[in-house]
């Protein structure tokens, strides 16, 4: 193995003089008085390698020894990942000792002693390739497939698969014979470099299904596709975190991976304190059982922050290859971009806009491209739906990270300071936000079948009502309540009705917090029916009072169990009110 000696140190960028070959992105360990600090090669120039250290470099000296490892930053894959709390390098935070994180302490990602109930799926004589399923174990309630390791090239013949029984992840559960007639042992665990996308699928079609989230402003107005990508930019205090938590709790997915990337530690604490108590709305099991947390909070080393999003994506790809629906949430991708900026800065690269590296846009699109819906070798399918948050400086969306992400992600859920100030949550701006999936013929057809024929036209109509209302509101503000025709007031209040009943949603309410598609359709139909009516008001006060009344009844409906007695009572009241005009 190649070794080297430290020749330069600036913060966590260390220059190493090497005595042999090194690879870009290769991992090395720097010896600091017996403590091994993990680092990654990010640039090579002659016999000098620049490495970014994933830990504090305090106390490091010129001449300290470095050992190169011959592999890239990789994660361990296998049963036991679910409900774990990892740091950005996949160290298990729960098994670390002491209150403080110790430098150079690396823990195993998986429990190697635990026994798993294995059931074979393949049999002797089967021809298999990488990512094919050999067997499965029950991880919580999910069937966790044991696959031919992703790194295996070419076709193999199954020589032997272990019988059903209990095994540790390191036990051999299959023997495969390669084309040259050599036997290879396969265990339940494998490693994969995080910066390389996992293959193992035959095709990646355009997304054609909608992922239900229970959040009306997303599902009804701008739905995200299963296997699709979206992002949520917004200034601080606009409800990014609450919205992400709602998605994690409610989305119709098998596995949720949350990458807390450079964010507050208390938010992570909230997840692992509350999720075990919360029930998955689809299966009734504890939410934590389907969740993996990758946690590199803002005070943890910056270089590991960059790694954390890749670690999260790789774990997602692993579960996707088992045919699962994965939802990956990264909060926030801006912190990841800042980590790239800090490193690029120390490498003295010529900066792009706002000091970010010039290839920022390419790095972001490359990352978003790893999400997607895939058809597996065995005809099954799996998906990664990816939603990242962006924290634009000063809330200004004209900055490199937002702009680059806009090119890569297909859904845009812009949080508006104005809506947040008015406590209109979720503060997703109904006019600026979009879902490109609404233009996909596949998605339109899917919604035609899933909800009703012509659904997307209704969505378009709803958006039109909101826009008209906004225009009317501006006119009223300029000309005064009495200075505009009655029609303006009516238009404005119709959009307010949509806003209060469809867009706004109380994330903390047990019933309103999650709204199933069927219920969303019912409410949208109801609201559109009202908006289709034309009213005759004598003055604007009458119009205001009338719509305020309607809004109040509809909101009570939102807070009531769907189709319950109470719900029907309010519906009756509403119909009664509507007769008056």
């Amino acid at each position: 193995m190649t070794t080297g000696k430290v020749t330069g140190i600036i913060a966590n960028l260390v220059t190493v003089e090497v005595n042999g070959p090194v690879a870009q992105n290769e991992i090395c360990f720097i010896d600091l008085n017996g403590v091994k600090l993990m680092a990654e090669v990010i640039k090579v120039n002659g016999n000098k390698a620049s490495v970014q250290v994933f830990e504090s470099t305090r106390g490091l000296q010129i001449g300290d020894a470095v050992e190169f490892q011959g592999y890239m930053l990789e994660v361990t894959l296998g049963p036991g990942l679910l409900s774990s709390n990892f740091d950005g390098l996949q160290n298990n935070l729960a098994t670390m000792e002491g209150v403080f994180l110790k430098r150079g302490e690396y823990t195993k990602a998986l429990d190697e002693e635990k026994l798993w109930d294995f059931t074979p799926l393949a049999k002797s004589g089967d021809q298999v390739i990488a990512a094919d399923w050999l067997g499965e174990v029950k991880e919580g309630w999910l069937p966790h497939k044991i696959m031919v390791p992703f790194s295996f090239e070419g076709t193999y013949t199954v020589k032997k698969v272990a019988e059903a029984g209990q095994y540790k992840i390191t036990d051999t559960i299959a023997v495969l014979t390669n084309a040259d007639g050599e036997d290879v042992n396969v265990t339940m665990t494998q490693k994969w470099p995080v910066k390389v996308a996992v293959g193992g699928y035959v095709e990646k079609p355009r997304p054609f299904k909608v992922m239900e989230t229970g959040v009306r402003t997303i599902d009804t107005l701008n739905p995200i596709a299963e296997g699709g990508t979206g992002f949520i930019p917004g200034p601080f205090g606009c409800g990014k975190t609450v919205l992400q938590h709602a998605l994690a709790e409610q989305a119709d997915a098998d596995v949720i991976i949350m990458a807390a990337c450079g964010e507050r530690a208390n938010e992570v604490v909230e997840i692992f304190t509350e999720f075990p108590e919360l029930k998955d709305k689809h299966t009734g099991r504890s939410l934590m059982e389907r969740t993996i947390i990758i946690c590199n909070t803002s005070n943890m080393p910056v270089a590991a922050r960059e790694a954390s999003v890749y670690t999260a994506m790789t774990l997602g790809e692993y579960y996707r290859a088992m045919g699962m629906k994965v939802l990956l949430l990264a909060d926030s991708t801006s912190r990841w971009a800042q980590a790239l900026r800090e490193m690029s800065n120390r490498l003295e690269e010529l900066p792009g806009q706002d000091g970010f590296p010039v290839d920022l846009s390419a790095i972001i699109s490359n990352f978003y491209a790893r999400a997607g819906y895939v058809k597996l070798n065995n005809g099954q399918s799996g998906s990664i739906t990816f939603i990242g948050t962006v924290s634009p400086a000063g809330g200004n969306l004209k900055e490199p990270v937002t702009e680059s992400t806009k090119k890569a992600a297909r859904c845009f859920y812009g949080l508006s300071q104005n809506r947040a100030d008015k406590k209109r949550y979720p503060a997703v701006d109904p006019v600026d936000s979009y879902s490109k999936y609404l233009e996909y013929p596949e998605i339109i057809e899917y919604l035609d079948n899933k909800i009703e024929k012509g659904w997307v036209d209704k969505v378009t109509k709803t958006k039109y009502i909101i826009r008209k209302g906004k225009d009317a509101y501006e006119q009223i503000n300029i000309l005064g309540d009495d200075g505009v025709p009655m029609l303006y007031h009516e238009q404005y209040w119709k959009s307010e009705l949509v806003d209060f009943v469809i867009l706004q949603q109380d994330a903390f309410d047990d019933i309103d917090g999650c709204s199933p598609l069927e219920r969303q359709k019912f409410m949208l139909d109801l609201i559109l029916e009202i908006c289709d009516k034309s009213f005759k008001f004598n003055n604007f006060e009458e119009c205001t009072a009338y719509f305020k009344g309607l809004i109040n009844i509809c909101r009570q409906m939102n807070y009531s169990e769907y189709k319950s007695e109470q719900f029907e009572k309010y519906l009756g009241q509403l119909k009664e009110e509507l007769k008056h005009e």
């Binding site: 106390g59 530690a265 909070t297 005070n299």
Partner: protein, 442 residues
């Protein structure tokens, strides 16, 4: 800062900037301290034989033949119970005339708490100020700054909050404090008879700005000693974090780093997060709560310093001079405590969050009425009542000079609802109205 035997002494500087010096030296470790011409300095960069040091006291009149002695270790603080009641400078040296503190020597700026070992903050810290307790409740383990223009009395408010809070230790980290403000804090603490639980690390405006960079780490190392080793509730006050960030930009500028927004270093977010994230609720009952001050330039929160701060902290408290009541108030619209829902209605009365939301909503209606008035439109009866309500709400609840228990704040709010509004106008739940509504003669 005693010198050890066999320390190598260098006398040949190869480069000097306003904040750094470089020289050729061997066996030097990253982050290590040194003395350059009698001034404290820290290693910030090593390249082959050349070592670059950041000189905290500035480099004025340092000659190229200045004496440089390395310490062999990063900045440290001696921690023990003797810290209590003492005043220190940025290097942790006593400035109150007392003896040096004996105790365990700890490196400052140490590692962070394993997120998995944290507990959810859930203990209320009452302050008596309704703008905080009622609308933006403080929770132990929280980190929250005051956003204030330089002319507002933020230091006064902060010392009030600190002295009223039920905590075991209060640690003041003063960065770029004017000498007057330093003496103000000292007097306040003394006259409150609270000196025994207060520890201060102070850098005043007449001292070099780069020294400030050591203050938060010193204060937090002391805080961690009491919170982690002694399981105490510690409140850390940091004022003014804007001046801290300014010092960061000076250093990064001297080191030829490419500035990002508002000429701040690209690492500003991480630098601030390292400090604020020390706020923690520990499993064994100890906690560190951080209340900071970020001064604003004319209320501009889009500037890089308040902007990055807002993304890190758990809310912010906005000070504003209110024209109607003539008092400094805590702005209910722009202030936020992200952890308030963990204590409201749980550690306080059941009507807390409902009263908070309603009173702020009615205050917002008053703001709309005011806009209407300014634009020359007619005001309705409701608008007029809102305006009267707003004035009394600001005076009796939002003003920072209020000092009452939380139940009294809630009762006051109910009294105002009864005085100016009908039950229906408040939109409060039937159940709460039955129990708490106060009819007042109008």
């Amino acid at each position: 800062m005693s010198e050890k035997a066999f320390q190598r002494i260098y006398t040949k500087l190869t480069a000097i900037t306003k904040a750094t010096v470089s020289l050729e030296a061997q066996g030097v470790a990253n982050d290590e301290l040194a003395i350059v011409a009698g001034r404290l300095a820290q290693v910030v960069k090593i390249k082959d034989k050349t070592v670059t040091l950041q000189v905290f006291g500035g480099t004025e009149d340092i000659p190229t033949n200045a004496e440089v002695t390395f310490f062999g270790e990063p900045p440290t603080l001696n921690v023990s119970d003797d810290l209590a009641g003492r005043f220190f400078n940025a290097y942790g040296e006593p400035i109150d005339g007392g003896p040096a503190v004996e105790g365990e020597k700890r490196q400052i700026g140490g590692p962070s708490v394993n997120p998995y070992k944290r507990r959810m903050p859930s203990e209320l810290i009452p302050t008596g100020i309704a703008g905080i307790d009622l609308n933006n409740t403080l929770v132990s383990g929280q980190k929250i700054p005051f956003f204030a223009d330089p002319d507002q009395p933020y230091n006064k408010v902060m010392s009030m909050v600190a002295l009223r809070a039920d905590v075991d230790k209060i640690i003041l980290g003063g960065m770029g404090l004017s000498n007057d403000d330093y003496l103000f804090f000292k007097n306040e603490f003394e006259s409150a008879g609270a000196l025994h639980k207060i520890i201060s690390f102070v850098n005043t405006t007449d001292q070099p700005p780069v020294e400030r960079l050591l203050i938060p780490d010193m204060a937090l190392t002391a805080a961690e000693y009491f919170a982690v080793d002694k399981n105490e509730k510690v409140l850390v006050l940091l004022t003014d974090m804007t001046l801290y960030a300014d010092a960061l930009s000076i250093v990064s500028n001297r080191m030829d780093q490419i500035p990002s927004k508002d000429s701040m270093p690209g690492s500003l977010y991480s630098d601030l997060a390292k400090i604020y994230e020390k706020a923690v609720q520990l499993p064994d009952g100890g906690s560190i709560t951080i209340i900071a001050v970020t001064t604003l330039n004319d209320g501009d929160i889009t500037h890089a310093i308040p902007d990055n701060t807002g993304y890190i902290t758990e809310g912010q408290l906005f000070l504003r001079a209110d024209a109607d009541s003539g008092k400094v108030i805590i702005d209910p619209f722009r202030s936020l405590s992200r952890l308030k829902q963990h204590v409201q209605n749980k550690k306080t009365r059941e009507d807390h969050s409902a009263v908070m939301n309603t009173s702020v909503r009615l205050y917002a209606d008053a703001a709309n009425a005011k806009t209407k008035l300014e634009n020359g439109f007619d005001l309705s009866d409701y608008d007029l009542r809102c305006l009267d309500y707003a004035k009394e709400y600001a005076t009796r609840l939002l003003a920072i000079d209020v000092n009452i228990p939380i139940t009294e704040m809630l009762d006051t709010a109910w009294e105002l609802f009864g005085k100016y509004f009908t039950k229906a106008e408040t939109g409060l739940k039937e159940k709460l109205i039955e129990k708490y509504w106060k009819a007042v003669d109008k």
